[in-house]
């Protein structure tokens, strides 16, 4: 049924339709509306046969989820940013134990400095923890992919992280076709755990594994993600059959057929990029884009195929490997092993900085002329940077970088007069 609702609320409805049995809730901007909505759905009797537990921290949230999933219940939780880091130990534990928990990450920057706005550093910080990581571009996809996530997780016995841009998607009102229960039931069978804590069949779970077996266990975790590369397209094909639309998958492409310049990115920014690409195409630039939807497992093969024929690749990401450059860019370069195609790494949108068509147009225009640095920070204010570097040079006690910059750009001054 078509609805005009907030992204978070759509996700809550999608989760509810997936018949979760245990939901753990701890609030953190920007996912709070999801867990609040789910709490109301349970309390109001609309989501039945579900335990909604208010926990005391994110570490507790995922730990409760680990217990409940191990005992055979379909389990869900949500977090972002600082919360994801606070549960980091449990994130590795969940995937190591092979528990099919589904978790929303409302992508948000990580402090210090504290920042509540969107970027993808949080998910990226857990990219190697063994979870499947799926990124969505719109709120429609957010609803659809959460439903798919349960099926993927339970088929593989592996936890899945569904990543959606905080505020930009979570807090945006847009048109969503919310599926009906019959469709979801057809697509998503009841949870049949691969392993379960059961007095009738007692097992020990979580034993120590020493040097003689650890490598094999880890190899099998990697192998399972390789299986996911095949499973994910199967699931999305099945989804299309039942729900009638394309959602999820490993990657999606836009106008790449004859593109000289191909932009690779993740998440909601592709929307603005598509408008920009249309404008540039109208002016004769052969440019297209690939959106990575499954970041883990990383679609090396699908990406390599999509980028075949491109004269240059621009990787645009809302995260940064401090001391190296682009995280996604490094991963994309692996897909292009052996190919002589330049890969330009662009870092943009950090901490919620808006990404505009105008900036993208300039960026893509420069890229198409190979007039880009290897690493570009989109819309970087070089003056502010230079002034701070000068400060640091001139004064050994120059103070906090963040506070200095805030003073410099007058944020502090205007806050006082507003």
């Amino acid at each position: 049924m078509l609805k005009q609702i907030e992204g978070s609320h759509g996700v809550a409805e999608g989760i509810a339709l997936s018949r979760p049995e245990v939901i753990c809730a701890y609030p953190i901007t920007p996912q709070t509306h999801i867990v609040e909505d789910l709490g109301s759905l349970v309390k109001g009797g609309k989501l039945t046969n579900c335990e909604f537990i208010n926990v005391e921290s994110e570490f507790a949230a995922l730990s409760v989820a680990i217990g409940s999933s191990a005992a055979g219940a379909r389990t869900y939780t949500a977090t972002a940013s600082q919360g994801l880091l606070f549960m980091a130990e449990a994130v590795y534990n969940a995937s190591g134990l092979g528990l099919p928990i589904v978790m929303t990450v409302g992508n948000r920057a990580i402090g210090a400095p504290i920042n509540i706005w969107n970027d993808q550093s949080d998910s990226m910080s857990m990219r190697d923890a063994g979870w499947i990581q799926l990124f969505v571009e719109t709120n429609q996809q957010a609803v659809d992919v959460h439903i798919q996530a349960f099926r993927i997780a339970e088929a593989l016995s592996l936890p899945v992280m569904v990543c959606m841009d905080g505020f930009i998607l979570t807090h945006a009102f847009e048109r969503i076709d919310v599926p009906d229960q019959a469709q979801v039931d057809e697509f998503l069978p009841p949870f049949e755990p691969r392993q379960v804590l059961d007095p009738a069949n007692p097992k020990s779970v979580g034993a120590m594994v020493g040097p003689e077996a650890f490598t094999e266990v880890r190899y099998l975790a990697h192998h399972k993600q390789m299986e996911a590369l095949d499973l994910i397209p199967e699931v999305t094909a099945d989804f299309k059959k039942i729900f009638g639309r394309e959602s999820g998958g490993l990657i999606s492409t836009y106008q790449i057929e004859d593109a000289d310049t191909v932009v690779v990115t993740l998440g909601s920014v592709i929307g603005t990029m598509q408008d920009t690409i249309d404008e540039m195409r109208a002016d004769g630039t052969r440019i297209g884009a690939v959106t990575i939807r499954s970041f883990r497992p990383f679609p090396l093969g699908a990406l390599r195929e999509a980028l075949d024929g491109a004269k240059r690749v621009v990787v645009f990401e809302k995260c940064l490997a401090v001391g190296l450059g682009g995280i996604v860019a490094s991963n994309v370069r692996m897909a292009l092993r052996g190919e002589e195609v330049p890969v330009y790494s662009v870092v943009g949108g950090l901490g919620g900085r808006p990404i505009t068509r105008a900036s993208l147009r300039d960026l893509f225009a420069n890229a198409s002329k190979d007039e880009l640095e290897g690493l570009t920070f989109l819309d970087l204010n070089q003056e502010i940077v230079d002034r701070e570097l000068q400060r640091q040079q001139q004064d050994a006690h120059s103070g906090s970088v963040a506070e200095n910059i805030l003073q410099d750009i007058g944020v502090v001054a205007t806050a006082k007069t507003a």
């Binding site: 005009q4 945006a172 009102f173 920014v269 603005t272 505009t356 068509r357």
Partner: protein, 186 residues
């Protein structure tokens, strides 16, 4: 695509205004996107919300940089931030005030806009009268319907009902209708 930017302060229902506007457009079978531009939740701080309306899917996610219409829920903002930034030369400006643009000190800023595109609406007064709370958003949406035709008054009514069922909704609808009538009359 028709782009609206709503300016106000925390607690004035700026975000709700954008949401209801998007719902109104949705009810007319259009695509609509409403997004708040946040700081941390704090009463009184400047808040901006965006709404886009189009006949086809909206893919654009940047802030509304070139609004076709501005709704200014709090006129004290004129001197705090650049409310008019990017306003289309054919744009509309709806201001929640009983003062004139001259009294507000913005007559120059809006002088090149087409005749009838700049309207003052005593929305807070209407809200106090019908809703008994200083929430001017519903009234301003009624005025927007009248002045721009971007959405229909019926859709605004239904959108308000969806967001605020019952007596609260009715009161807001009355305020919206009053603003609609008075905007049409002037």
């Amino acid at each position: 695509m028709f782009q609206i930017r709503i300016h106000g302060r925390g607690g004035q229902g700026v975000v709700s205004a954008a949401e209801m506007l998007s719902v109104a457009a949705f009810l007319e079978g259009k695509h609509a996107q409403a997004v708040p531009s946040f700081g941390s939740e704090r009463m009184g701080a400047p808040v901006v919300a965006f709404c886009r309306i189009d006949d086809k899917e909206i893919r654009l996610r940047e802030p509304v940089l070139e609004p076709d219409a501005l709704i200014v829920q709090d006129p004290t903002l004129f001197h705090a931030i650049d409310v008019f930034a990017g306003l289309s030369p054919q744009g509309y400006v709806l201001i929640n005030t009983s003062k004139t643009t001259k009294e507000l000190g913005i007559a120059d800023a809006v002088k090149d806009l087409p005749e009838g595109h700049v309207r003052t609406v005593p929305a807070t007064e209407l809200a106090m009268k019908y809703v008994k709370r200083p929430l001017p958003n519903a009234a301003l949406l009624g005025a927007l319907a009248a002045v721009t035709g971007a959405i229909q008054m019926d859709s605004v009514v239904e959108a308000i009902n969806t967001k605020f069922p019952g007596k609260v909704g009715e009161a807001n609808i009355t305020a919206a209708k009053a603003a609609f009538e008075s905007a049409n009359a002037s």
